[in-house]
Amino acid sequence: MYCVKCGVRLTDGTERCPLCATPVWIPKNADIPKANYAYSSVYPKKKDNERFPAAIFLTIALAVVSIVCLIFCLRTYGAIRWSGYVMSGIAALYIIAVLPMWFRHPNPVVFVPISFIAVSAFLLYVCLYNRGDWFLSFAFPVVMLLGILTTAAVSLFRYVKGGKLFIIGGLLAALGASSMLIEYFEHITFGTKMFSWSLYSMSTFFLFGLFLILAGIIQSLREWLERRSFL
């Protein structure tokens, strides 16, 4: 049998042309066997979570390090001193790096904000232990600001199809704007001078962002950028 559109001969039993999808006319009651395809119906196996052994190993290793530090600190000082930093640091590291390994498909939209909360908690511990007053006015808002921007970036990359250059450009512009906010928090907490560095970073990020947004609009610039930055 032949495809009436392409003119190619088709193997017996083919229901539509593989080239143009034109249905093949088969007379009623014609005794034509089903096409005997050349490949099996076995698709490659989906992989199990290969990071399980690493997650178990790291959990045990980090727990051992924490306990050893705690025992050593208690025996030396009779109280939790430097080991508090180690344990809270390890807890933050565990949440950021090891916790996602327990999941087959960890969703970064969930784990990125959790990581920033863990960093905040670590900084809160450091601040309280040293009886500082910089957490609420500086560390917390800065970490949360960066957390919101990062979560927005991963969410947009994950759920928005296309428009990557607009997303990166917009995020860079937002990062530039947030550098001014960070300097403001620094100013009210530590009394530093305003506009000493944030204007430079803001203008740099803003220009990069604008360039990427323009690349998103101008096709030839976009193609040039894609070709030059392919890794």
């Binding site: 495809c3 392409c6 003119g7 190619v8 001969r9 088709l10 193997t11 083919t14 042309c17 593989p18 080239l19 143009c20 999808a21 096409a35 395809y37 050349a38 490949y39 099996s40 119906s41 076995v42 698709y43 490659p44 290969e50 070709r227 030059r228 392919f230 890794l231």
Partner: protein
């Protein structure tokens, strides 16, 4: 006992560096016999070939400065074929073995990571494997002729040499050439590769090609260049047309008489610049034939080899840690590897088999994987009076295949199409 290991050959250096999660450079060759394959005998044949092909039974290892190949642990296990050819070889698999031997019904297929060998080396392995299998199954003697190696012999040093280093010229030739038009389409998200095979009568194909004073390769390249020129005019009508070039691998063994079983191939990019005006198929055949003849000379190829070999031997590059080298190689690949051609047409030519083996062999195929950025590829092999043109793609659209095979029919070459579409 120390393990056998090998440096990657000059062409192979690029392949581990540019592999991605979901893509690496692989190709496949298969032979279909008259009867269903016995997996136990195939396993025995595969085991018997291991001492004769030490450069193929290897796994990829990561060093501090270079990747290298190391003898695999234990035997290579043959497996059942999958629903589509060239399923992805993940890094973990490459670290176990860079070679797959698969069977399905009456077919034996071998899938190679390209860092091991090229199409010619792969075909020698496949024919020797098939010969050993037939010998085990039917108890016949198959002489070591027509590209089949004697598995009783020790591997020769020239079979595992890096011939690029041996035949490199003193002066390097610039790689600079204009970029080509790029084919596009809707990518399959799950990495499925679609394959459409056109079966052409070799005598008719040769006759039509000769009527254009061209070889089969030149004729197929010319037809492909013509249909891609038409596609570019259709899809980008208001833009300045880009050159349409087809990447054609040249087997350097024929030029230099090398016996290596490792990579020894360089690619040329003959084509046409549509800005210069309309070209007939006659013009294309003449132009492409002239371009290939002018380039495929030992002196010029030696200079092209030198362009790859000289950087490899630079002290600064040699002492550079692998992860930095990988970035550098990726950049080279981005500039040179996939921008100069629309797709590959790799023609292995007519496969010759020893007389006692012929009655048992029904068909042979050669399939190259898709590149990372261009979605289509084409490979050709002939056995007897059948030429198998395999067109693989990782996109949904079949426009290129449809135009190409329809044009061959219009030119008087009958084409029989075989395919497995998703959902069939």
């Amino acid at each position: 006992m120390s393990k056998f290991w090998l440096r990657l050959d000059n062409a192979a250096l690029i392949f581990p560096a540019v592999k991605r999660p979901g893509w690496c450079n692989v190709f496949r060759q298969s032979v279909s016999l008259r009867e269903d394959i016995d997996p136990a005998l195939l396993q025995e044949a595969a085991n018997d070939l291991k001492p004769r092909f030490p450069s193929l039974y290897v796994r990829l290892r990561t060093g501090i400065f270079w990747y290298y190949l190391e003898e695999i642990r234990g035997p290579l296990t043959v497996g059942q074929d999958f629903a589509y050819p060239l399923t992805h070889m993940a890094t973990k698999e490459l670290h176990t073995c860079c070679l797959r031997i698969l069977y399905y019904r009456n077919r034996i297929a071998v899938e190679f990571f390209h860092a091991l060998t090229d199409g010619t080396g792969g075909m020698i392995f496949l024919k020797t494997l098939a010969a050993r299998y037939i010998a085990l199954k039917y108890g016949i003697d198959i002489p070591a002729l027509d590209g089949i190696l004697d598995i009783g012999q020790q591997p020769q040093p020239e079979e595992i040499e890096d011939s690029f280093l041996r035949y490199s010229g003193q002066h390097a030739m610039s790689r600079s050439e204009p970029n080509s038009y790029r084919l596009k389409g809707t990518h399959e998200k799950d990495g499925v590769r679609h394959l459409i095979t056109g079966v052409l009568p070799t005598d008719k194909l040769v006759e039509v090609a000769h009527s254009y004073h061209a070889t089969v390769t030149v004729f197929l390249v010319a037809v492909m260049a013509q249909v891609i020129t038409e596609m570019q005019a259709k899809h980008a009508p208001n833009r300045r047309p880009k050159p349409v070039k087809i990447t054609v691998p040249v087997n350097l063994r024929r030029l230099y008489g090398s016996k290596t079983l490792r990579n020894f191939v360089l690619t040329l990019n003959p084509g046409v610049d549509p800005q210069l005006g309309a070209f007939t198929l006659d013009d294309l055949c003449n132009g492409i034939s002239a371009q290939l003849s002018a380039e495929a000379m030992p002196q010029i190829m030696a200079a092209r080899i030198a362009a790859n070999v000289i950087p490899q031997q630079l002290a600064i590059l040699r002492i550079m840690p692998l992860f930095i080298k990988n970035l550098f190689l990726r950049m080279v690949y981005a500039y040179v590897g996939e921008t100069k051609g629309c797709l590959n047409i790799s023609n292995l030519g007519v496969v010759k088999l020893p007389e006692p083996m012929r009655p048992y062999v029904e068909r042979m195929e050669f399939i190259i994987g898709v590149q990372y950025t261009y979605p289509n590829n084409c490979s050709v092999v002939s056995l007897g009076n059948a030429t198998y043109v395999n067109m693989i793609r990782n996109i949904r659209e079949t426009e290129l295949e449809q135009r190409f095979f329809s044009r061959l029919v219009e030119l008087g070459v009958p084409v029989t199409i075989e395919s497995k579409l998703r959902g069939d």
